[in-house]
């Protein structure tokens, strides 16, 4: 149990008062920037990098890791309360979380997100400490064909989020796919659907689109209805804290979310979004309260929130073991390592065990600090919802605009925020679901690139999609996910399949 001994040694490093302080600064900053849409952990670390140059490497790396974890964490707060996802990985949280908040259950929603993040972060960090070398070899076994099939699986399963009408859901999805086509085609370098506007060459920014469609579209829709200003939303109904029932319904989604988030986060092209989609779809299938989905089901918050935090720990697996940065924040952390003349990889574990294990141990500490920092704040956060409606909605618009401009101060970005906001408004008025648009926008370009890469490598041999074992298995599961419910529905309604607990 070498790893445990090393981890204990790391804990001794992480618990040194100065490192503890750095960790606290990190998680506080991270939570703050996570709450704001637009300003992400990557930019925050980049801004702090020159300031920390003269500090002790362990201290500043611990702070950066705290920012990363805090960012994953803070994104949920604005998603749940304001329907304004701060990061693309908390888009799914907004689906059920905001509905819960509107129904007076904002407290339990924030709590299950906070505790779920803690549980997922702790398990995933343990995974990072004990399993990193194995996880990374599995992650590297994923070829483009396998990634493509993983995305097909995500598409197949999240169709559950498409609402009641398949036609409307698919219409929204294709709208998202079309938006995803805008910009320079990664494979050929040629511009598509840019209409001669240079600002469109990089495509539609996902967080801008999510904030516009969710927050602005929804706000316009609500206030456009008669009497909206007089309507009051109960900020707290029932317990502020999670009830026994909430705990019972949350713990399995937390674990399943972790099981999605950690390995997929460790994959070089996995990211934090896909595990949240998969987790949401799984919880929706497995829940004993299917009637609550679409009205604010706690499972739909617990699972995805655990998944996105676990994926953050997963990202550190290839970074620490191979020196592979797989997210923007990881890339900057790599620059941070290099600033101190350290090269992540197997050699680092041998050369600087104190630093690596101190960093890993500090992730546990960061998790605990986040919980301590955020649980008492829940009571304060939900008070936001008691602000009079017109003020709250006005505030959401200001907040969404500030966040977008903070990330990218350009007139064009502001214009696209408003245009997409109007689009979201139109979709709501005519009863089309919003989530598939964002899902199409995120998954579409990823799936396209992976498929074309797979075909380029195989020199246009399509059988690569079935000859690769991983891809074949994923495609089979995807097919089952589509076919089984239809079969079951025709035979007997209400059978829950595939639940092994």
């Amino acid at each position: 149990m070498d790893a445990f001994v090393s981890l204990a040694g790391g804990l001794a490093v992480a618990l040194q008062p100065t490192n503890l302080l750095f960790c606290l600064i990190g998680v506080t900053l991270g939570t703050a920037v996570g709450v704001l849409p637009g300003i992400g952990p990557a930019l925050t670390v980049a801004l702090l990098l020159p300031v920390t140059f003269k500090l002790d490497p362990a201290g500043s790396l611990i702070m950066f890791a705290g920012i990363y974890y805090g960012g994953m964490y803070g994104g949920s707060t604005s998603s749940i309360l304001l329907n304004t996802p701060g990061e693309s990985s908390s888009i799914v949280t907004a689906l059920e979380g905001n509905l819960m908040a509107r129904a007076g259950r904002g407290g339990p929603a924030l709590a299950t997100a906070a505790i779920g993040s803690f549980v997922a972060g702790a398990i995933a960090t343990l995974g990072l400490a004990l399993l990193a070398p194995y996880v990374v070899s599995v992650a590297l076994a994923f070829w483009p064909a396998d990634y493509f099939s993983l995305m097909i699986l995500a598409f197949a399963t999240v169709s559950a989020a498409f609402g009641d009408s398949a036609l409307r859901g698919l219409t929204s999805l294709f709208l998202g796919l079309a938006l995803g086509l805008v910009g320079i085609d990664l494979m050929s370098g040629q511009a598509r659907l840019d209409f001669g506007v240079p600002d469109l060459l990089d495509g539609v920014e996902v967080t801008t689109a999510a904030v516009a469609l969710f927050a602005i579209g929804e706000t316009l829709f609500v206030v456009s209805r008669k009497g909206a200003a007089d309507e009051t939303i109960e900020p707290i109904k029932g317990s502020l804290w999670m009830t026994r029932e909430d705990w019972k319904r949350s713990w399995k989604p937390w674990l399943r979310g972790t099981a999605f988030g950690f390995p997929i986060g460790a994959m070089p092209a996995g990211g934090a979004e896909i595990p949240t989609f998969l987790s949401y779809a799984t919880e929706r299938r497995l829940t004993k309260h299917p009637e609550e989905f679409g009205k604010g089901a706690i499972e739909g918050v617990a699972g995805p929130e655990a998944a996105n935090n676990a994926s953050a720990a997963g990202t550190l697996v290839p970074l620490l073991t191979l020196g592979l940065p797989t997210s923007a924040t990881a890339a900057i952390m790599l620059a941070g390592f290099q600033q101190y003349g350290l090269n992540p990889g197997p050699l680092l574990f041998a050369a600087k065990p104190n630093l690596v294990w101190g960093l890993i141990a500090s992730l546990f500490v960061a998790n605990a600090l986040l919980l301590i920092l955020n649980l008492p704040l829940i009571g304060l956060w939900v008070r936001l919802l008691s602000i009079p409606r017109p003020w709250l909605y006005g505030g959401i618009l200001v907040f969404a605009t500030l966040g977008t401009l903070g990330a990218n101060p350009s007139l064009f970005e502001l214009g696209s925020l408003l245009a997409l906001g109007l689009l979201g408004f139109g979709l709501r008025v005519f009863g089309y679901p919003i989530a598939p648009v964002v899902i199409g926008l995120i998954l579409g370009p990823m799936a396209e690139v992976q498929l074309r890469r797979a075909l380029a490598i195989s020199q246009n041999d399509w059988t690569v999609l079935i000859t690769s074992p991983i891809s074949a298995v994923l495609l089979t599961i995807a097919a089952l996910a589509v076919i089984l419910p239809i079969v079951l529905k025709t035979r007997e309604k209400g059978i829950v399949f595939g639940e092994d607990d």
């Binding site: 930019l43 140059f53 990089d202 191979l322 959401i396």
Partner: protein, 320 residues
């Protein structure tokens, strides 16, 4: 919304104090990094910031990220807003040259005042250690026999990595449009593809591979330098009989409409910066080659580089 707004201001205040540094004695500068945080241009801009501030060459130096379209968004914004201001700079490089040509960008490098080339990185052609391919000669033979059978994993389409692959094919008499180049969006992703043996070879700036080469996971087949580079155990392309030399260089430019005095002043600032110990140390830790070339000599070199890039992008079939 009192709470988040207060948090926003608090966060902004912390970040601002963190970024601003000490009291301003010399001029305050602003450097545009026309890319997201973390990439080469961002790191170049922030390294300049660090050298200038810690060696008191400038007062406060502010770095602003304006990402998009291979740097052309930032370039257009800079040319427009910074006109005549000798205290604003933009970082750029070979990739920007390629992006301007490919996207037929409305604002080109003619719209700014090129000041100095700062760093360069040679391209390396690598394979995973367990790959059956041992020499660059084997890659060339395979390429000549069937161009499609050699897949090249590297950065974005039309970037330096793609250009290097195209130039190698052209030099050995293979049609560059037949090169099976597979672009990846981030350094991590392409590195993973090479390590996993997904592509036949990997091609990127040597720095992207350095850690993996040192830990014995990658084998360098060749580098695109004019002569061997100390510390890199690999032959040059030229030694292997392929007449190719590519360097991913990075530069700094000023706004259009500078007065001769303004230009001289900012050139001196950059010159001073390039001589500092902080900057030299940064070059070492980041593995960047010092390719410092300033003023008119650089302007002439840039013109030549742009013409060359245009030719090869046309040959690969990416530009008209």
């Amino acid at each position: 919304m009192p709470v988040p707004l207060r948090r926003l201001l608090a966060a902004a205040a912390i970040l601002a104090t963190a970024a601003a540094g000490g009291p301003a004695l010399a001029a305050n500068l602003k450097i545009i990094a026309p890319a997201s945080p973390g990439g080469g241009w961002d790191q170049t801009a922030r390294s300049m910031q660090q050298a200038m501030q810690s060696e008191k060459i400038a007062g406060s130096v502010q770095v602003e990220n304006v990402p998009g379209a291979g740097g052309t968004i930032g370039l257009a914004q800079f040319a427009n807003r910074a006109k005549g201001d000798p205290h604003q700079l933009i970082v750029g490089g070979y990739v920007m040259v390629g992006a301007i040509i490919m996207n037929d960008a409305p604002v080109t490098l003619d719209a700014v005042t090129p000041l100095a080339r700062l760093t360069g990185e040679y391209e390396a052609i690598v394979v995973a250690t367990d790959s059956p391919i041992k020499t660059i000669g084997e890659v060339i033979d395979k390429l000549k026999a069937n161009p499609g059978s050699v897949s090249w994993g590297g950065g974005s389409a039309g970037g330096t990595d793609h250009i290097a692959a195209g130039l190698i094919a052209k030099a050995v008499g293979v049609d560059p449009t037949k090169v099976n180049y597979i672009p990846f969006s981030g350094g991590g992703e392409s590195l993973a593809a090479v390590l996993g043996g997904q592509t036949t070879v990997g091609v990127s700036s040597y720095g992207e591979f350095d850690a993996q080469v040192k830990s014995g996971k990658l084998r360098v087949l060749a580098i695109t330098a004019p002569e061997r580079v100390p510390g890199i155990d690999a032959p040059t392309m030229k030694e292997s009989g392929v007449d190719v030399e590519v360097q991913n260089w990075r530069m700094v430019a000023g706004p259009p409409g500078l007065t001769p005095e303004g230009k001289a002043e900012i050139l001196k600032t950059i010159d001073d910066m390039a001589k500092t110990k902080t900057w030299r140390d940064t070059l070492k830790t980041k593995g960047w080659t010092d390719t410092y070339l300033a003023g008119d000599a650089f302007t002439a070199q840039l013109k030549e580089d742009i013409a060359k890039a245009h030719t090869i992008l046309r040959d690969i079939g990416l530009a008209e």
